[in-house]
Symmetry: C2
Subunit: 306 residues, 2 copies
DNA sequence: CACCGTTACGGTATCCGTAAGGATT
DNA sequence: AATCCTTACGGATACCGTAACGGTG
């Protein structure tokens, strides 16, 4: 059994059980992969794939179990190399951050700027997606750090560390009737069409739940995938929306108004998520600390050890 | 980086940083190991060992981190092979159970007998030790299953599953004054010399704590490592002792008397511990179920997933 | 001198790439 | 015909064991 063989196994599965594709991705030959996988099967005494007329169709039952273990091993192999590079004081490397639009658009730019000053030789890659996609990117090893809001339920397999807490606000066009109220309530809010995040986002669930707990049904006229789109639609007076204060900048968003809604909705919490048992290179700790200064290396290590 | 190289690394550390010994243990040549370790260091760009005049003295700082990851990988490699053998329906294999004397002596013989009937081709090995040793045997991968009592605190790194609950009893010689009491209390008990388990055992701590919570100090005249020794000493009237009901068999222990002490001491709980993320072969599930029938495969898998 | 780790060297086995074959859609 | 996996084959490489070397206590 070789790490190489496990790598081949993983790659073939990732490429839809197509050895040819996997070979291309790994810059090697198809026959090589084919042979090594046969050898692995022979050594283990188990068929890893369900073969359909000579073609690989899917993983066999043992294959599923074995792949899961193999993937952990390959992740560890990665961690090991990363640890070595970290100790050899190589300050270059790359960092893949999986996050949602809101964070990428409003919170991260400043963080990335400060981080780039400290680690000019680390190349950072942002991957955007829904809360669920963000979680899976880190779980699968395609990203190092997940950042998302109200995501602890989605981050079940990850170590989650709460970072920031954001009040919620209601945004409207200037001159909207809601702005004239002394005290905003859900009963007022429910009378107006609402623009919300897509179902895929945790924020959407929380919005609906808040209304439902008051036996109200919001009239959601539009679902969108990011705050910028939502704001543009609110500006067109298609409805009002509920966002976090993070997403609203009074200087830039002059065509909109924000109303405090911290009493109506639970404040939302931004989490950082990392794989348990993964070795974080020192610049990854630095990134997390830059994002959330109260999280120093020790605090993160403690959270991971639990 | 090869699994072989990691195996070499682990074995050299296990044999007190002696390549020669490691080579013997692995049935290979010293120069082979030496070379592979040098290659590994070269590839990783890190010195794994602190070398003292050409001799390996200990792990370097990076070595510590890297070894930890390597050991996880090697355990997974083992799991992987085990999983394969399990699926290929080979019913032979071996099972190493790390446990304390009490379990090995009183609870396990019957379990082993029933297990042997179901799995005649599985060779079982019992390893005995203190609670801490038991825990480490499983953590290090030298044993598959840990069984111990009141051990959850020691089993921090393991998945623990509670199995049985045992009332505590006080044992004395026949005709002892304590036997004449209507209602036994700690205040009565503290007047007599007590024979207890060694400090290394959780039972010892719990005994002392129970007294201390009543502001009493027990007069422990003797510490012993197992219940048989304790019972022999009680039979000699060196003192009385507190055991679990498991350790007392009225038919065999005719030279002793037992008093219910379930009101004085918390009942003790027997735990099974396994490594998180380790693949258990089907006969291991069967063993656990034989030991504790309410633990079927699903229950165990759920406990491990948490 | 005994012990330990490294270097040197040669044979074997392994791995990989090219080429060709067989099967399916 | 195109795609895909496997078998066959040859060359380069890596790995391992024996032997010899350099240091240390």
């Amino acid at each position: 059994m070789t790490l190489q063989q496990l790598r081949f196994l993983r790659e073939v599965v990732r490429h839809g059980f197509n050895i040819t594709e996997a070979a291309k991705a790994l810059c090697t030959s198809q026959p090589g992969i084919s042979k090594q996988l046969r050898l692995l099967e022979q050594e283990l005494g188990v068929e890893l794939f369900e073969r359909d007329h000579g073609r690989i169709a899917e993983l066999s039952k043992p294959g599923v179990t074995i792949l899961a273990i193999a993937e952990r091993m390959l992740m560890d192999a990665n961690s090991l190399k990363g640890a070595a590079r970290d100790f050899s004081a190589e300050m270059n490397g790359n960092l893949v951050v999986a996050t949602t639009h809101t964070q990428a658009r409003y919170a991260l730019p400043e963080v990335l700027k400060r981080f780039a000053v400290r680690h000019p030789r680390v190349s950072v890659e942002l991957r955007q997606g829904t809360t669920r996609q963000v979680s899976r990117l880190v779980t699968s090893g395609d990203a190092d750090i997940a950042i998302a809001t109200d995501a602890s339920a989605y981050f079940k397999d990850l170590v989650v560390i709460p970072c920031h807490s954001w009040d919620r606000i209601v945004i409207t066009v200037p001159g909207h009737p809601l702005l004239k109220l002394k005290r905003l309530t859900l009963e007022h809010l429910v009378r107006y069409p609402i623009i919300a995040y897509d179902h895929e986002f945790a924020a959407r669930q929380l919005l609906v739940q808040a209304f439902e707990s008051h036996h109200l049904t919001p009239n959601i006229v539009l679902s969108a995938l990011d705050a910028d789109v939502i704001k543009a639609c609110v500006a067109m007076d298609l409805g009002v929306s509920v966002l976090t204060r993070l997403s609203f900048d009074p200087r830039r968003d002059r065509n909109l108004r924000a109303l405090d809604a911290s009493k109506l909705f639970a404040s939302s919490v931004t989490f950082i998520g990392v794989r348990r048992n993964s070795f974080l290179r020192s610049y990854m700790y630095d990134f997390i600390e830059t994002f959330s200064p109260q999280l120093n290396r020790r605090a993160i290590e403690e959270a991971m050890a639990r």
